[in-house]
């Protein structure tokens, strides 16, 4: 299994542990993730106005650089932008001509654009993954937090059922964790509002964490560095035991018995598995 890999900025910075653990797991699973030779920031948000073509230059350059090979990312924001940019290139001929002419590349929407979770589910298969679990997360009550960018708009993302997704729960089951379902697992964490309107993000985060806690979760997993940042930094002091937030790949590596450490968004480090 060979894929081109787009890391994105945050995975080379605060979210390094997501990359490290995912790369370690991929290597152990025989999934070859070959980082693109050159890449730029995807732009973080997909431009919703059809004339914002400048913002498409970077993702389209990335898509073209994959040269038709399947392109994998780990960060849900990067995946969202790349997937939607691809869909626009397939759908809108005018935008495609303008962008590819400007970039002087040939690209017309070809190639699979995948999130690493999809690789695990569809290409490897969770059944196969089960065989590689050395240290199942027994007794750990973990809830999945999907957020927005992987699921919506579902017609484009084609990731999972947008209202009743199961992929992360299925992963957690495979890792041997006790799966906890919280009703707010697909609600927005507040995203970039934490930069400008921290109060709003605090409200959304409080709801997500409260509902996960009520459902009995001790930890949450996510695939998005910004979600993790918000969940860790915008939750209000309420005197209750804080909920641990992990990248999905951290628990994956841990259950596979791989070394690694979880890097909290605040830079704090915690070893997730012993050698």
């Amino acid at each position: 299994m060979r894929y081109r890999y787009f890391p994105g900025c945050t995975l080379k910075g605060q979210a390094k542990s997501m990359e490290d653990t995912a790369m370690a797991a991929a290597a152990a699973l025989g999934i070859e993730l070959i980082e693109l030779d050159e890449w730029q920031c995807c732009g973080a948000v997909y431009p919703l106005y059809e004339d914002e073509l400048i913002s498409l230059l970077s993702p389209v350059r990335t898509l073209a650089a994959a040269a038709g090979e399947p392109l994998v990312s780990l960060c849900s924001a990067c995946h969202h932008v790349l997937k939607r940019a691809q869909e626009l290139m397939q759908r809108n001929q005018d935008a495609r001509h303008k962008v590819t002419d400007f970039l002087e590349v040939e690209y017309s929407g070809e190639g699979r654009v995948l999130h690493f979770l999809e690789v695990l589910r569809d290409d490897l298969g969770f059944d196969k993954l089960t065989e590689m679990i050395k240290k199942p997360l027994e007794g750990r009550k973990v809830a999945a937090y999907y957020g927005c960018l992987l699921l919506r708009p579902s017609k484009v993302m084609q990731f999972d059922d947008p209202e009743n997704p199961t992929i992360m729960e299925d992963l957690l089951k495979t890792l041997g964790a006790e799966v906890v379902k919280s009703p707010y697992r697909t609600e927005c964490c507040g995203a970039y509002l934490s930069v400008t309107e921290e109060g709003v993000a605090s409200d959304t985060v409080a709801r997500i964490i409260d509902s996960a806690r009520q459902a009995g979760a001790e930890a949450l997993i996510t695939a998005c560095p910004l979600c993790r940042y918000n969940l860790e930094n915008c939750s209000r002091e309420d005197g209750k035991e804080p909920i641990k937030v992990y990248y999905f790949s951290e628990l994956l590596a841990e259950a596979m018995g791989l070394p690694g450490e979880s890097t909290g968004a605040d830079g704090s480090k915690e070893e997730v598995a012993q050698r």
Binding site: D161, P162, E163, N164, P183, T186
Partner: protein
Amino acid sequence: MPRIGIFICHCGSNIAGTVDIEKSIEAARGFPGVVHVDEYRYLCSELGQDLIKKAIEEHNLDRVVVGTCSPRMHEVTFRKAVTEAGLNPYLLEVANIREHCSWVHKDIEKATPKAIALLRAAAAKAALNDPLVAPSVEVEKRALVIGGGIAGIQAALDIAEAGYIVDVVEREPSIGGRMAQLEKTFPTLDCSACILTPKMVEVAQHPNVSLLTYSEVEEVKGFVGQFDVKIKQKARYVDPVKCTGCGICYEKCPAKTPSEFEMGLAKRKAIYVPFPQAVPNIPVIDRDACLYFRKGRCQICAQECPPQAIDYEQQDQIIERRYGAIIVATGFDQMNPSHYGEYGYGQHPDILTGLEFERLFNASGPTGGKVVRLSDGKPPKKVVFIQCVGSRDKARGMNYCSKICCMYTAKQAILLKEKVPDAKSYVFYIDVRTAGKGYEEFQRRAAEEYDVAYLRGQVGKIFPESDHLMVHGVDSLSGKTIEIKADMVVLAVASVARADAPEVGRLVGINSDSYNFFNEAHPKLKPVETHTAGIFIAGACQAPKDIPETVAQASAAAVKVVGLLSKDMLQGEACTAEVNQAECSGCLYCEAVCPYSAISPVEIEERYHGGTLKRTVVEVNPTLCHGCGSCTVVCRSGTINLKGFSNEQILAEVDAICLQR
């Protein structure tokens, strides 16, 4: 050379006032083939018609052109007149020199040449007219009704009362349909069973009606007047003659399975009648649930049955019958709202659809008529109703309004208040639609007298929280977001076409709209007819509708059937398409465009270089053809023509009109 006679009507001064009759006559005498020209003050009068008849005899005319009012006015009159003089009616042609000429042009100098041009065109066409005979078909005096819900029952009763034999085919073990599942009916709150059961019994006992329950239509062939239908009567494994309907068998049967009639909220036995008032009251054995059929042992029903009516060896029967007309009344389904993840249907026992909630009120329903939460058996004190779940939703549901939900929600809220007096209902709605006699008043009563809170807005999320359901919504009128700790949520889900409607449509030969509801022949003027002559539709298989509308449509369909069956022979359309099979290339484009399925492929053998060659061509069934002519234009070899409006006739008219150039 034809011998054409032209007759010009003055219509008092209606025509003569603006068209110079003398000049027109003069011109008409010069048209090719014209041997006689005359005029009359009122040509449509008795004397006027006699003038034509006499002229036909005297001048040995074989074509007649009248210059009169519109053919839509008096074509039939003059066709009759020429028939009485021994001519085929289709040898007559009308030049419309009144509505299309004298009445719209004021200047005699301009109207006269136009009248002449129109007369010339009519004469040119008439010269090419052929005698036509409308095909006639013998009518089988027996009707078939597919579907035994309230629509089918009403239609069958009306046909039977008019004195004709009618068979009702019902897929389920009992007739009754959706209406049998209802507790009460809006806006009068009649008990549904109280008004339906007598009708079910009446139709079962009517000497002109045969009920074929647990049966399905397998094949429909033929055409109006003579449909040949194959019906499969599924094995009940119970001898209907011996069975007394005592019910011991299903009392004793040890195998249980979810009841379709109770929307899966309760179980039924493997041998069962769907509901206590079933007609006929004869059980059936569900092979998939029966221990004997699955594992080869049990047979308790056979041992317990007093008259020994159980027969495990029974086989499906195929019944073949001929019918003059068919009514399709196959009803509707309810959309499964599971894909509306925010509502959590299917994830919690207290989130129900409207029809499921309805069953909770019924004395023989899953809760014995107690309105309680299925999770803990407690009566619900706060119930949230959500409207338009899957209706008016082009993204995830159906674009149309399901029409009945506003009313049944109001009904259920009222019934709830009567059963659980301290219950409070909240209705999230987009618009309340209550067009119907007594409907608006009923809905207002729910809001004003039964303390039902109508909230204009929608619900964004429902999730269980401790022992209740948290409902997050919005009231758009106040602009406030709303949170309700509800005990129960009822979803007014969309009414949709039966899942197998496209299949039924193909089987019977009628078409459907993009939602798979069957199409009526005309949205206003032919509401029960279909594009296939002799096949009619009634009830919710055509579009969502309530009981009064369904019954009205069923009676209307019955009248159409009775009218058809009252004729011994049917006269078809004379101006139909005809194909020259020698030139037909068998491309079948014509078959695709024909709205009446009147064109079908046939295989013919031709001699070819000493051998024979088989090839596909088409044939036109003149009894089905309505004469629209769509096929003539798509024909690649140009070999389909339309009688009465042939290519040659239309071109002759064009040439004649353009002759002034």
